[in-house]
């Protein structure tokens, strides 16, 4: 089975995200004052082969923990789409 994993990696909530902060100020400078917070992370797409959805889940979790996210500073979530 072929899967597409849509992964989001975000800085942990308690960690200052200077990039997000700069973007928030930029938006406010544009007059978009309704924005009270901005945080910036990464979106990663992986295509993979797996025997089942549970196996795909395990593979992607492993990839996130070992390389795609550094869990000291980031958190990750993903959804799997069967292709």
């Amino acid at each position: 089975m072929k899967f597409l994993a849509e992964i989001n990696v975000m800085p942990q909530k308690e960690i200052l995200d200077p990039q997000g902060k700069a973007v928030k100020i930029g938006l406010q400078n544009l007059g978009i004052n309704q924005v009270s917070d901005a945080r910036i992370g990464k979106h990663i797409q992986l295509q993979l082969e797996a025997g089942s959805e549970a196996e795909a889940n395990q593979i992607v979790t492993d990839a996130c923990k070992k390389l795609l996210a550094n869990i000291i500073m980031e958190e990750f979530e993903f959804k799997l789409i069967q292709l």
């Binding site: 960690i15 200052l16 200077p18 990039q19 990464k42 390389l67 550094n70 000291i72 500073m73």
Partner: protein
């Protein structure tokens, strides 16, 4: 002592590091990241630069280069290993040192001289340093904000693992002398076994009289004076 300087695609402080070690009268060889042999080096240095273009996270991909398996083994067996700037980032990504290095709180790449004070003389890297002196050494990084959870910071303090703090020229360690937002002004640490060192500032860039600053040389001399 024989030194090995690991070279990744994007390393750019390898020449400076080799030059300084040689100026101290010791042998230094470059170790290409695709090789696995450490060529019987006693002390491995992972130099500064932008390994793999800082893709994904600084140091994250370099960690998986072929040579790293033996570098990690060398460290786990008690061999000396030091990461400078990007090298420090590689070593935290390889979990050889605790914590992470986040984007500077100013969101800018900072390239300037800062001052460092040693937090302990109980390490090969700091044993010959003056505990009261503020050493002038340059930094050049965008991701140098040292972060670790509270428990890890407490462990670093309890075990005397904080090698360097950012300070001002008079040695005061405070918010104003913190260039990047590092927790507790931490600029360099070692592991609990005291054989793996990491620091964001570049001592090898302050090691030539022609540059009118040899404070960095004093730090590196500490290694070879053992």
């Amino acid at each position: 002592m024989k030194f090995g300087v690991v070279v990744f695609p994007g390393s750019n402080c390898d020449d400076d590091t080799v030059g300084v070690i040689e100026s101290l009268g010791h042998q230094a060889v470059k170790l290409w990241h695709k090789q696995t042999s450490l060529e019987n080096c006693d002390f491995i240095i992972v130099p500064g630069g932008f390994s793999y273009g800082d893709y994904l996270r600084s140091g994250a991909i370099a960690r998986f280069s072929p040579i790293m398996e033996n570098v990690i083994k060398h460290a786990n067996e008690g061999g000396y290993l030091m990461g400078i700037c990007n090298g420090f980032q590689v070593l935290v990504e390889a979990h050889l040192l605790p914590g992470v290095l986040l984007r500077n709180n100013s969101q800018k790449f900072i390239s300037k001289n800062i001052y460092l004070k040693t937090g302990t003389q109980n390490s090969l890297l700091t044993q010959a340093l003056d505990a009261n002196k503020a050493y002038k050494v340059p930094i050049a990084h965008a991701e140098g904000r040292y972060f670790a959870d509270e428990k890890t910071i407490q462990t670093l303090k309890d075990n005397d693992q904080i090698l360097f703090y950012y300070c001002d020229e008079n040695g005061n360690i405070n918010e104003n002398s913190n260039p990047n937002g590092s927790l507790e002004n931490i600029a360099g640490i070692c592991n609990a076994q005291r054989n793996v060192f990491g620091m964001m500032p570049h001592p090898e860039r302050a090691a030539d009289i022609a540059l009118n600053n040899v404070d960095g040389l004093e730090i590196l001399k500490s290694i070879v004076n053992c």
